[in-house]
């Protein structure tokens, strides 16, 4: 799946300047980088929530799912929230079990904690069938157990559907656990786009080395 080159500026300040790149089907691509590197802007552009400066820019596909950084619970039960995006009972049962949501299904979703809302939002988005699924730090407020369960669900999703997942994350360790490929952004520029193991073992750029050193990798 080809993503066209794009730029994005806010108030004349360029926050993203990316060349065209490809996303492999059936793969998880992690987008890593420091705060302000443009990760979330890229996610929002791919999701169609922001328009790049190029008016003619086209999304690689219209069938895109997007889970924003701040998970939002609609004013209804957890069960109804999850079923908003599809009502396949088997899929729902599998997601609910994996994410430990069973006891919360009939609770008011607005009353869930931050971590519980994130788990509910992940289950909700994974109920859908998308060609491209963008997840903006889905496990930021989850504990370790839920994070590992979420990562396993992402692997299952790409294996079963052949979809592409773009995972925005701060953590290179998470990228190493779950991703096949990685895009490193720095100040809105694409530093490297390569296999996760290549990035760690053979960094090609000084900025990659600094980034990896920061995480002690």
């Amino acid at each position: 799946m080809k993503v066209e080159a794009c730029n994005k500026s806010f108030n004349d300040k360029k926050v993203l300047d990316l060349p065209a790149f490809e996303l492999d089907e059936g793969c998880i691509t992690a987008v890593v980088g420091a705060n302000g590197s443009g990760k979330s802007t890229l996610a929002r552009i791919l999701a169609g929530l922001e328009r790049p400066d190029e008016r003619s820019w086209k999304r690689p596909t219209d069938n895109v799912g997007y889970m924003p950084q701040k998970s939002f619970a609609f004013r209804m039960t957890t069960r109804k929230n999850i079923a908003l995006n599809g009502d396949d009972p088997q899929r729902m049962e599998r997601l609910v079990d994996a994410l430990g949501l069973e006891p919360l299904l009939d609770h008011r979703a607005k009353k869930l904690s931050g971590g519980e809302t994130a788990r509910m939002a992940l289950a909700r988005i994974l109920m859908g069938d998308f060609d491209l699924l963008i997840l903006d730090e889905p496990s930021a407020s989850m504990d370790m157990e839920a994070t590992l369960a979420a990562e396993q669900l992402l692997r299952d999703y790409v294996e079963h559907t052949g979809a592409i997942i773009v995972l925005i994350t701060h953590s290179i360790q998470q990228a190493r656990r779950v991703a096949d490929k990685v895009i490193l952004l720095d100040k809105g520029l694409l530093v490297e786009h390569t296999g996760i193991h290549d990035l760690i073992e053979h960094p090609q750029d000084e900025r990659t080395v600094r980034f990896l050193q920061f995480f002690g990798v």
């Binding site: 999701a47 929530l49 895109v64 004013r75 908003l84 995006n85 859908g128 963008i134």
Partner: protein
Amino acid sequence: MGSSFEQAIELILSADPELLNILATTAKMSLSSSIIALLLGVPFGILLGARKFPGRKTLVVLNRTFMGMPPVVAGLVFYMLFSGVGPFRHLHLLFTVELMIIAQVVLITPLIISTMETYVAQVAPLVKETSLGLGLSRWKRFWLLVNECVYPLFSTYLLGFARAIAEVGAISMVGGAIAWKTNVMTTAIMLYTNRGSFTLGIALGIILIALSLLVNMVLSLMQGRLSR
């Protein structure tokens, strides 16, 4: 003072016909104007809060200006429009409950628009981002936004009703506080106090406060049930 209070209680308990008429007129006016203002204000509030379009900011400023309009000014405008020399004199609405309702709608609607706009502007981006991310249809996105607004809808209505029932400036000008016709609680309190007759004024004051308490309690209860 103590004796006036006792007499006021007696008046309430005896179901005085004039008192009942004032209460009925007040209920008709306040409920009608607040419900009409809600029906007009909520869609406008949602539109201003959820959508970005050219002229939106001008409309918000204009609405805030109307929100701050003194009721007597609204009363004066309507009086001029519907009096014997006004362009709408043939409608014969001056000194009727209907014109009092219209004047109140003009006063309350901007308040409802502004309250809804403020709430929707906060929640709409989250609803939009999440529901677009889920690939939901436009209709479902709209339904989810409206569903999020049910909770503030009650407090907004309460605000409108409170303004309607307590308003006196505009309705005394366009209604004329005519006994058995357009006299409502607030105008009656003013009228009887000016005449030095405190009993009915106190009785109405007690009812006004009790009514306000009752409406608040009922709405709080409903709000609690709907806040899920």
